[in-house]
Amino acid sequence: MSELQTVVKEPLWKIRIKLAWRGFLKNWNIFRQSKIGMLGLWIVIVFAILGFVVYPILAATVWRSSLAATVSYDPITGYDFQKINPSHPSLQHPLGTDPIGRDILSQLLYSTPREFMLGIFAALITVFIGTTVGTVAAYYGGILDTFFMRLADLILLFPMIAFLIVLSGMMKINMIMLALIIGILSGFGGITIVLRSQALTVKVKPFIESAKVSGARSFYIVFHHIVPNVMPLSFLYMMFSVTGAIFSEAVLSFLGLLNVKMSWGLMIHTSESGGYLLGAYIGRYWWLWVPAGLAITLLCGAFYFIGRGLDEVVNPRLRRR
């Protein structure tokens, strides 16, 4: 009896958190089964630690610049007067230096949080737009539905990279603007179609009927009943959007079209436009492109792997048993 009372006395938000936690644990156990998803998660965690924890510590201790030094580890204005640049990886510079003597490892670590932020910011916008538009289109139907679906078809056909290349040639685009553009463009794209079809299957379920009968407004039904049910799928697509955003940023800054001070794509661009990556030089100056290229590939791949892992949580048919 006393136990029942404590359960009932517990505030509603606490019960909700408990339920959410239980659901999370259940999904986590499924996710943990997929090796590829866990691999992706570990790569992301390692990158996050390197970018958000290791770099600030290193910058404040080992790499702190002083006026008297002949070596500066600043990722943007750094130099090394003691070596012929670009110099081989050595003890002082674990990944070597770039053509103007900047330390590659410090550039790599400095850019990591920015890539993360860009990817996640763009993906959040994508998922927010995609989920809202997809569920609203599915629930209300009619002309709204037709309009957004045709729009999605159009954006699906949009040569995104070509568009971004032309756009970045006409205006100076920085990271935040790029994230906004990618987020909005892909938000109205394919993700809307997927989430709409998912929302359509939720819409015909009995609990939506009962919510209607008990007098819930349409707005309330969409955002309190349909959206939570399509959330796992939008989370899955968020991972793929992160990959897309980081990839687009890397391509644009690799082509030297972005208004950014430092990023992984720009690191390769600097070496390439300096003529260090022509023909046989590619092998000789390997440290100019391998670290940055590998970082882009790994981080893009990691989010893609997480997406594949989540796919097994969301789609029961893909599971082994």
Binding site: I36, D153, L154, L156, L157, F158, P159, M160, I161, A162, F163, I165, V166, L167, S168, G169, M170, M171, K172, G190, T243, F247, A250, V251, F254, L255, L257, I268, L277, L278, G279, A280, I282, G283, W289, G293, L294, I296, T297, C300, G301, Y304, F305, R317, L318
Partner: protein, 384 residues
């Protein structure tokens, strides 16, 4: 069928109008757009600025400008390129578009054939070491940063093994004393390729129409295919242009390999997943229970059903492959549309950039139409 294609064409024209409107909007509404470009130069006198604005029609109201732009786009009049002055944009695009098309189509067909077959075999060998290794390889190829792949290819095949030329479209030493342009040879190559392609397509359709036996089907398919290829090679061999055609083809290998790898991985992975789902269906169990050979179950029952999602996914990833093509062109100095667009953007050649963007869009729309028709052919559930 004709009605279906007509309907799709109509939709494509509408999409094209919207697309051109978007391009127009980018050109004119953005800071640093057309108008700002001409006014921002402080060394020009106001009269000269006004004269330029008038010459480019930028003094008219925006709606009139838009209508004129739309009309010009449909009559292929994109203005004069700034960086290749006084060549009209359309002339440049006309020269570059076939190169991009050849690169893209060749790579797509190769990657589709290999991706389809390897995905099919992999799903059938579920749980074996081959499957793990190939899946991981496919995922790596799918997620690798495109320029990195290009560097690897250039370094390994071009610099280390010295098998293929590093960059460029042709070998200048060879072409120094020729009296014809490379475009002539290139267009002939394209013509040969499309004739062979048409023969293969007709052979494929004939083999399915005429026979229901796998062995005779193969015979009907392979005899015209191989003989057309042999005849084409023979004609090129005997003609004085042979060596020049071979030179272009030789320069084409690495870019094609790159675009192939980019689009192959996606097709293979989707085919594998789709095949894994199909294998669980009841009709596969039935086919096996009937005592059909394993290969027949795999090729005739499972793979044909599993093919449809692959094609759907292919439509979605068209843009991805195309952007891979743009990056490939800039990296391998393959003078196609992508490189033209990149150079136009770098040198602020707005008419050329806009023209290339519009034609990239047309290219994607057209590819989409082709895939749609193929899909309608393959899926008997689609009624047109």
């Amino acid at each position: 069928m004709g009605k279906y294609i007509g309907k799709r064409l109509f939709q494509i024209v509408i999409l094209l109008v919207i697309y051109i409107a978007v391009v127009f909007f980018i050109l004119h509404a953005m800071p640093g757009g057309m108008k700002a470009l001409f006014i921002s130069n402080p060394r020009l006198t106001p009269e000269a600025q006004q004269a330029i604005l008038k010459a480019f029609g930028l003094d008219k109201p925006p709606l009139t400008q838009f209508l004129i732009y739309m009309r010009n786009s449909f009559t292929l009049n994109f203005g004069v390129s700034f960086s290749h002055y006084p060549t009209p944009v359309w002339e440049i695009i006309k020269e570059r578009l076939p190169r991009t098309a050849l690169l893209f189509i060749t790579a797509t067909i190769i990657s589709f054939l290999i991706g389809f077959h390897s995905g099919k075999v992999l799903a059938w060998k579920r749980g074996k070491a081959v499957e793990y290794v190939s899946t991981i390889g496919g995922v790596v190829a799918y997620t690798i940063f495109t320029p990195v792949l290009a560097f690897l290819l250039i370094w390994f095949f071009g610099a280390y093994l010295r098998l293929f030329p590093l960059n460029q479209f042709l070998n200048p030493d060879l072409w120094a004393n020729t009296s014809f342009s490379s475009q002539v040879i290139f267009l002939r190559l394209l013509l040969t390729a499309s004739i062979i392609g048409a023969v293969i397509l007709v052979a494929l359709i004939l083999s399915y129409r005429l026979s229901h036996n796998i062995r005779s089907r193969r015979l009907i398919f392979y005899i015209p295919t191989i003989s057309s290829v042999v005849i084409a090679v023979f004609i090129w061999w005997k003609s004085p242009y042979g060596i020049y055609g071979a030179d272009i083809l030789w320069h084409m290998v690495l870019p094609v390999v790159e675009v192939t790898i980019i689009s192959y991985a996606g097709i293979m992975l989707v085919m594998r997943d789709s095949m894994l789902e199909t294998v669980k269906e009841d009709f596969i169990t039935t086919a096996r229970a009937k005592g059909l050979p394993d290969r027949v179950v795999r090729d005739k029952h499972a793979a044909r059903t599993a093919l449809l999602p692959v094609i759907t996914n292919f439509i979605i990833s068209l843009g991805f492959t195309l952007s891979g093509g743009i990056i490939t062109e800039t990296l391998f100095s393959w003078p196609g549309m992508g490189l033209a667009m990149y150079e136009a953007v770098i040198s602020h050649d707005y008419p050329l950039a806009a023209g290339c963007l519009i034609f990239t869009g047309i290219f994607v729309l057209f590819a989409h139409l082709v895939v749609d028709i193929v899909y309608a052919f393959l899926d008997p559930r689609i009624r047109y």
